[in-house]
């Protein structure tokens, strides 16, 4: 069972709209994190809730059977602030100083839980924290949940909040700039999307993981027959197809960590929305991502819905 992206939502400092991923503007924007459902939430969850709302509306998913909707979050630093602040509170005030409202935030899965509660999504609830490849991994797992019939729809969220402990950890590890934001994709079984009559935005294609980018790319491309038109990757990553335009999000946004792969997929959607043809290759987890996380690389092929439908029919 194939899967398509049918909605995208952004809540990223500095990105006003989806096409900003392809063409940066100088207008800075800040996500507005007030309003319904935002009280007593950690920053990562508030960013994720905002992006998810945008993505669900973008996909036209107002009414949906929540039992068949999965949530897959990718984040490496989502609740680092809670862990650090709670230890400070315990040492200065004892445990009685911890607000009971904040207790759920101790779990690394807190963002996925708040998203499930706020939007009534009762399918499988995954949180992936596997370093920089984690965002592309999350899209892969979302597609698997659909392919194995655990869900019709999966909301995939990449989120990294800029909090004081996150900033200190980045600085201690040679970082200068890092993301503050969340991006959400609605990934949907093609059949379900066509039945709803919603616009298909990008087909989720081959995925590969390997010790370095070249192995991951080879595995992701598999027997994909057509040329790659755009790479979204750290520029100069080993194994990228020669002569293809490359968009390096970390150049502009800094370290994107667990959100990187999901932002890369959103970039592919922006490209296809503007009638960019054929295929985009996303690669995360390389030396050039700048996080020193060389534990593995992931690659994912996304294809234009126009091309993809021809393939599905064939």
């Amino acid at each position: 069972m194939s899967a398509h992206v049918t909605g995208v939502g952004l809540a990223v400092s500095g990105l006003a709209s989806l096409d900003n991923l392809l063409r940066p503007t100088s207008d800075g924007v800040e996500p507005s994190l007030n309003g319904k459902g935002m009280r007593h939430k950690d920053r990562a969850s508030r960013l994720a809730l905002l992006a998810t709302g945008h993505a669900l509306r973008d996909a036209g998913l107002g009414e949906v059977n929540g039992d068949r909707v999965a949530v897959v979050v990718s984040s490496n630093f989502g609740n680092l602030d809670t862990a650090c602040e709670f230890t400070d509170i315990i040492h200065t005030e004892t445990v009685t100083g911890i607000s009971p409202m904040r207790v759920p935030h101790m779990s690394s899965s807190v963002t996925a839980c708040w998203v499930a509660i706020e939007y009534g999504l009762r399918g499988p609830n995954l949180t992936m924290c596997s370093g920089t490849p984690s965002g592309l991994d999350a899209v892969f797992w979302a597609r698997n949940l659909i392919a194995i019939d655990r869900a019709d729809v999966a909301v995939v969220i990449g989120v990294e909040p800029d909090t004081i402990p996150v900033a200190e950890l980045h600085k201690a590890n040679g970082g200068h700039r890092w993301l503050d934001g969340a991006v959400a994709l609605v990934v949907e079984s093609t059949e379900h999307a066509l039945r709803r009559g919603v616009r298909l935005r990008a087909r989720v294609g081959g995925y590969g993981k390997g010790p370095e980018p070249r192995a991951a790319i080879t595995s992701a491309l598999g027997k994909y027959p057509r040329p790659i038109e755009l790479c979204v990757s750290a520029s100069g990553a080993a194994g990228l197809p020669a002569g293809v335009r490359t968009v390096d999000l970390t150049n502009r946004l800094g370290r994107c960590s667990g959100a990187l792969g999901v932002l890369q997929c959103a970039t592919a959607v922006a490209w296809f929305d503007e009638s960019g043809p054929d295929a985009v290759l996303a690669v995360a987890g390389c030396v050039g991502d700048g996080e020193g996380d060389e534990t593995g690389s992931a690659a994912l092929v996304l294809t234009s819905p126009r091309t993809a439908l021809r393939e599905d029919v064939a």
Partner: protein
């Protein structure tokens, strides 16, 4: 389809391999002790089921969850007769807290913390040669979720063999948060007890090797029939009995079994008022029409709540229960909660019998549920 379990590994407060842990459960030994490194004056609770392995007693050190993970994975690979050095098997790790304890030590005491060391990819690559690892942090249901994800990977034809693991060490922030949330102060975990007072955390790691049946000729410990996963989507800390029942029924559908096929249940059984009540209601509902309902136990009275690894640790103990024809008792269950009067709770001695199918529950904070069905290998 079904999936073969060909290797087991585990480390916990009550034993450093699966057999020792199972034996400790059967004789009713507990791993509970006073907190070993946290400043007890800062907490109301004073006890936990820690692994007593710090180099300097009373002084904490980073990387313990990672260390146990490597031990458990090594045990499981060796048990399955697989060479661990080539990295051809993906490893999925379920964890609630990742290496957040290392992050706390960095924050409070400035011990170095490299970004990749928050997850387990680096340790698994250097220890087992695999670049294909995934850190799954679906609260305390994480390792049973990872088991379900592994069966999906095999069923979809991506791989024939997956290592599934779980690990957690206790963090100050989670221990303190739990302490803050609970009204009473438990000195031990007392699942389904009338006077249960809440949950206490435990430490440990666990691993299994999952293989497609046709691809190997080796011995099989047990067969996974199916794993369900869902989310209440209702409340951040209160479990939902109807949602747990939905997860149980879905696991039966996936496993193609009926309620009367289930011989034993290892519950999440965390000893909190709400969890044990919700699980009781769900079990009463699902097994309402069964003449002889399954035996019911929890391993947390002996091992504590080992967080992200707890579901898979229950699973491994379920596999050993099927192999040995013995369901370990709930330690200290001398006065059961009124609502559980009709459950066949195992207490005192192990319940002996010819067991063929076990049901394993895992219920995470935030209403994340997974249920696995496993059957004895013929």
């Amino acid at each position: 389809m079904t999936w073969d379990i060909t290797g087991l590994g585990a480390v916990a407060s009550i034993g450093d391999d699966p057999r020792k842990i199972f034996d400790a459960l059967c004789v009713g030994r507990s791993g509970v002790a006073e907190l070993r490194v946290f400043d007890v004056s800062k907490y109301r609770a004073k006890h936990a089921y820690e692994i007593d392995d710090r180099a300097v007693p009373g002084v904490d050190e980073p990387g313990r969850a990672t260390k146990w993970l490597r031990q458990a994975v090594s045990q499981a690979l060796a048990d399955a007769g697989l060479d661990s050095s080539h990295g051809e098997y993906p490893i999925l790790v379920g964890t609630t807290l990742r290496e957040l304890r290392s992050a706390e030590l960095w924050w409070r005491h400035r011990t170095p913390l490299a970004l990749p060391n928050l997850h387990f990819g680096g340790a698994l690559r250097s220890g087992f040669g695999t670049a294909e690892s995934h850190t799954v942090a679906s609260a305390c249901a994480a390792s049973l979720y990872a088991l379900g994800m592994a069966t999906d990977l095999i069923e979809l034809g991506f791989v024939d063999t997956v290592v599934v693991a779980g690990t957690d060490s206790i963090t100050e922030s989670s221990y303190g948060a739990l302490d803050r949330l609970q009204n009473l102060t438990p000195r031990s975990v007392r699942p389904f007890h009338a006077d249960r007072r809440g949950m206490l955390m435990g430490e440990g790691a666990v691993a299994v090797v999952v293989r497609k049946p046709e691809v190997h000729g080796g011995p099989v410990h047990a067969r996974v029939r199916g794993v369900s996963m869902n989310c209440d989507g209702a409340h951040p800390t209160m479990p939902d009995a109807a949602s747990i029942a939905r997860a149980i029924r879905e696991s039966h559908d996936r496993a193609k079994v009926r309620p009367d096929d289930i011989d034993m249940v290892i519950t999440h059984g965390s000893g909190t008022k709400q969890n044990d009540l919700a699980e009781t209601v769900a079990l009463e509902d699902v097994f309402a029409d069964v003449a002889l309902p399954p035996l019911v136990t929890s391993i947390k009275s002996s091992a504590g709540h080992t967080c992200g690894g707890s579901g898979l640790l229950s699973f491994v103990m379920g596999v050993l229960s099927l192999r040995n024809g013995a369901v370990p008792p709930i330690l200290g269950l001398d006065d059961r909660m009124e609502e559980a009067a009709d459950l066949r709770l195992v207490h005192g001695e192990p319940a002996l019998g010819d067991l063929s199918t076990a049901q394993i529950h895992s219920i995470g904070l935030g209403g994340i549920n997974a249920v696995a069905i496993v059957e004895k290998a013929a």
